[in-house]
């Protein structure tokens, strides 16, 4: 990856080094995060539940301090010069952040005052934000009559009032149906095209990271385990995936503890020469190999010798889902097992 010194005169939009955060002296939510986001980029921060995505975003948006490490937004230290940083960012938290018992336009008006939009520009900013997020028709209705997708667009609109240099979105489309998700992203993409704002978003939807981001980082247990463009990530799993599945009913899929693949057998597969890695998710065993035709017999033999049975084998080229499962998924199924 390029170092900031690689492009003289270019300031990174976001830069962190060795960032850690420990809650209550016990929970280590971030465990040494180094991150670089270039100006104008759409950056997807991908990770399973509880991996530390929200924690990182709350530090970057100056809500609390990291336990150690540094973070800068356009060269400005987010800890020491928080108030300057606050002036250049927009932020949409994971949870609902508008008042439901007033109208959409009133929400924007209150937020424009809270965010210190100058009086003479207030009206214009509100109109721009309403337009950017396609809220013209609903702006004067009470927010408690909105659908989930519309509320989300209103929240993003409120973050656009200050014309931010960086827009932070914490799981912007969580809980939305596919068409609402699409509407949110279409509005965002259009806004982005016009203003060139850097967008940093958390998600656990692979397809969103794939479609809408320029760059992706995958976080697991407070550490960035992989980063790059969607294509780079997929290519990093070059070769093939052998999928061994068991024909279990849906509910068994959830409780893979008893019905999944034996940890020891998986470990044995992982140690085979032609195998790059193996991961279990539910009743599915995924084996990453360079050459499927040669590796398959060996893997089958290893599994059989451990008494492991399966109903079906298929092969596939990696998708971003596979990248995610490989870097963030395997640790979840192997909880307490391998550390990395």
């Amino acid at each position: 990856m390029l170092s900031p010194a690689g492009v003289p005169g270019m300031t990174l939009a976001i830069e962190t080094s060795g960032l850690t955060k420990t809650y209550n002296r016990r929970t280590r939510a971030l465990d040494g995060v180094d991150l670089q986001v270039w100006p104008g980029e759409v950056f997807a921060f991908l990770g399973p539940n509880g991996s530390g995505k929200t924690t990182l975003m709350r530090i970057l948006t100056t809500q609390f301090r990291p336990t150690s490490g540094e973070a800068r937004a356009f060269g400005t230290d987010v800890v020491r010069r928080g108030s300057e940083v606050r002036r250049m960012i927009g932020y949409v938290p994971q949870e609902t952040s508008v008042w439901l018992d007033i109208t959409g336009r009133e929400n924007l008006l209150i937020y424009s005052k809270v965010y210190a939009v100058p009086k003479d520009r207030r009206k214009g900013s509100i109109e721009d934000a309403i337009q950017a997020m396609g809220l013209e028709e609903v702006a004067d209705r009470m927010v408690n009559t909105y659908s989930g997708g519309t509320i989300r667009r209103l929240e993003i609109a409120a973050a656009l009032l200050v014309k931010p240099k960086i827009l932070f979105l914490d799981e912007p489309t969580i809980g939305l149906d596919p068409s609402a998700r699409k509407a949110v992203w279409e509005s965002l993409t259009a806004f982005k095209g016009e203003c060139g704002t850097t967008v940093f978003f958390n998600t656990h939807y692979m397809d969103e990271a794939d479609h809408y981001s320029d760059e992706i980082a995958i976080i697991n247990r407070g550490r960035i385990v992989k980063s790059g463009t969607a294509r780079e990530l997929k290519r990093s799993l070059n070769g093939e995936i052998l999928r061994f599945s068991r024909n279990h009913k849906q509910e068994h899929y959830q409780t893979h503890g008893q019905n999944g693949f034996d940890e020891y057998a998986v470990k044995k597969v992982r140690e085979l020469d032609l195998v790059r890695d193996a991961a279990v998710s539910g009743s599915l065993l995924e084996v990453y190999v360079d050459d499927g035709e040669r590796a398959l017999p060996l893997v089958v033999e290893a599994l059989w010798s451990e008494g492991v049975t399966f109903d079906r084998i298929s092969t596939a080229r990696p998708t971003l889902d596979d990248v995610f499962l490989r870097y963030a998924g395997s640790c979840r199924s192997g909880r307490g097992g391998d550390g990395g």
Binding site: T62, Q63, D101, K113, V114, A116
Partner: protein
Amino acid sequence: MTAEDSLREMLAMIELELRRLRHDRTEIYTRAIQPILWLAVFGTVMSEVRGIPTGGLPYIDYITPGVLIQSTIFVSVFYGLTIVWERETGILKRLLVAPASRSATVVGRSIASGVRAVVQALIIFPVAILLGVKFIPNPIYITAAFLVLFLISGGFAAVSIFVASLMKTRERFMGLGQALIMPLFFASNALYPIEMMPPALQYVALVNPLTYAVDAVRGLLISGDLSGLAVDVAAILVFDVVIFAVASVSFRKIIE
């Protein structure tokens, strides 16, 4: 962050409350029922009994200031609930990313609740007149009384923010809110003179900010006796400053 940013956020929070009230006033009406019952039932009955030395005032007149204050305090204490709710939602997180200082957020929300509480009192005021309570018809006195109401309920809003930062869930907070207000109400001079209380309770009454607020409002609205006003207002201001500071510090706990 500048003082201007902080002031702007406070004003925005007041505006928010007024806009909310404009859209939906039912809460303010339902909250008026209990204090009106205090006046109409308790006050009227006890006026007949004449068992409590009120310094020559009809008993219903005597308790009106206390009831007004109790109803405003209810509003502001339950305001802490809004803060707990806003923590569960993302609103609080978002306010933290605004240019204003953290204490401006605390003070701003407290003041906004004070405004809401004064609106609450404005509803009970005419009902009291209908029930025959005789207020001193002096606009300056009345304005000053509402200012006292505003100051005391702003302070109690800060109390509730402080309590909210200790309680992590809404349910616990609800219980505590109830358990806090009624004892304070009874351990003040709202319903009877302090001299009538058992000695131990008298000490409680002396450090109870409600006592001073009731005394001030009673002087301004009913009895016209302003001899204690300076001490009362000073006591309320001290209470406000201390509790705003405590709430601002404890607010940090809500954040993480």
